[in-house]
Amino acid sequence: MITLNAVEKTYKKGNALVHALKEITLDIEQGEIFGIMGRPGAGKSALIRCINLLEQPSRGSVIVDSCDLTILSTEGLRRARRNIGMIFQQPNLMSSRTVFENIALPLELAGTPRDHLEKTVRQMLNLSNLADKSEAYPHELTLLQKQKVAIARALANKPKVLLCEEVTAALEPKAKQALLQLLRDINEQLKLTIVLITHEIEVVKAICNRVAVLHQGEIVEEATTVEFFSAPKSEIAKDFIRTATRQDMPIALRNRLRSQPFEHSNPILRIAFVHSSNHEPSIADIIQRFNLTINIIQAHLETILDTTVGIVIVETIGDNEDIKSAIYALEEKDLQVEVLGYAPRFI
């Protein structure tokens, strides 16, 4: 549905040339919810704005619904944008218009006949559960309700794609969940392709099918969300998962951790398993088979969309060769094992 082909974005800052985006190539499929994660300043905002050309890419092509946006005329681009809804961190509603009139704006701009316009706005109000707020003005609404109006407005022209910039960043946790649920619902009901950028791993966990990690203008990792959680590859992704899912080791242990084994040290393992591979008691099994002692330092279950991912951090005590074989045996069973380091006996 969306293809970014070697998209680059550079701009001048004083005399220096800043590379905001470097050779971004992405394929986003019809109907999926695709998350782009990154720290503040990673280039997320520039990237999502390149998809509807609010930011003109310096190089590369942007293809949405089989149409190359970078070669369109101004008028053609305006038409194409009606096919790409966008919502922002701020709802950006017009304070002088009611909820109804705000949702009607894109239809008015497109010259939609009045009866069709009213019908569509009513549909959008129902879709976002705002039917009773139709005559209210934005300042009477909560932030969540305003964001729902923004979604309804973005969808009024029946776009095939919805771009979401950090939409949940300013919301309190409960409102955040409600908004994410709404996005998930419209994704299912309308078969809408959703691209969102976020720095919050909860957002990815709650609704994304796939995720790409953006770091300093580059995509350093692209994976399904389940893979992303169970087997993050890049340092930055690992970091996200450690900090955001409270997978950090106790500080006392982390401080004593070395990257190489030393005398009387035990390896600290991070073992991740996806629900489907967890029918048999794998960890219990290796303890018996290789005569190991295992201390569970931390254990955590994550529900990602409808899949459960378990992440356990353990200290493994036993013969070195046995531990190696145990790791091999776990990997055989499709568990993800990573040696985090070596620590003197912890407990």
Partner: protein, 217 residues
């Protein structure tokens, strides 16, 4: 006296509201253009913004009486004469356009950047952004700007009146300055004060009305 006063008031109202209407029609698009072509704005264009801004600032810095006299050739060219209320409308309009355009520019520039981005994202053209989004959002402030402009115009119109444009300015010169009729002076002062207050109150009422719409329903 009442007859003189009534005639003068009629002429003043004619000058003020004709010039006010023309100022609205010309000044508002100019203010909008000034705002959207400004540095960092979505239609940033220094070839339009810089000269326009320069002209407006220059005009604004000339006192009205000097301005009016210096454009006499132009007034004569357009109106065929420099006498009378109709001719006075020309310098009045030209002097109040920059004032109103500058105030509307400020009002329109208050719109958050995000709103313009949101409008661009739903496929709005620049013209649509201006008249469908920016002007409606800034309307209470634009109406307040128009109120100020009209009050300014009353001041200008008395100068115009003194220099042959008729109206209350002419009356005060004629009856107050040349032949010191205290009753004319007092009456003119009262009429002007009432007029300015009436415009201010109406302006506030309309401006608040358009804001009130937001806090109502």
């Amino acid at each position: 006296m009442l007859h003189d006063l009534f005639n003068a008031l009629e002429e003043t109202l004619f000058m003020v509201f004709s010039a006010g209407l023309l100022t609205w029609v010309i000044g508002l698009p100019l203010g909008a253009l000034l705002s959207v072509t400004g540095p960092g704005k979505f239609l940033e264009n220094s070839f339009i913004h810089t000269p326009l801004h320069f002209i407006i600032r220059t005009t604004r810095s000339i006192p009205y009486i000097v301005f009016m006299i210096s454009i006499i050739p132009f007034t004569r060219l357009v109106a065929g004469s420099i006498e009378g209320s109709v001719a006075a409308v020309i310098p009045l309009t030209l002097a109040s356009i920059p004032y109103f355009a500058q105030l509307s520019e400020k009002a329109i520039s208050k719109a958050p950047v995000g709103l313009i981005e949101a409008a661009l994202a739903i496929g709005a053209s620049p013209l649509q952004i201006i008249y469908k989004v920016l002007i409606p959002e800034a309307l209470p402030n634009i109406i307040a700007a128009l109120t100020n402009t009209l009050i300014h115009l009353i001041g200008y119109s008395t100068i115009a009146g003194a220099l042959g444009g008729g109206g209350l300015g002419n009356l005060i010169i004629d009856k107050g300055y040349q032949t010191f009729h205290t009753n004319y002076v007092i009456a003119t002062v009262i009429v002007l004060v009432v007029l300015v207050q009436a415009i201010q109150i109406c302006g506030d009422y309309i401006a608040n009305g358009s804001v009130h719409k937001n806090s109502n329903v």
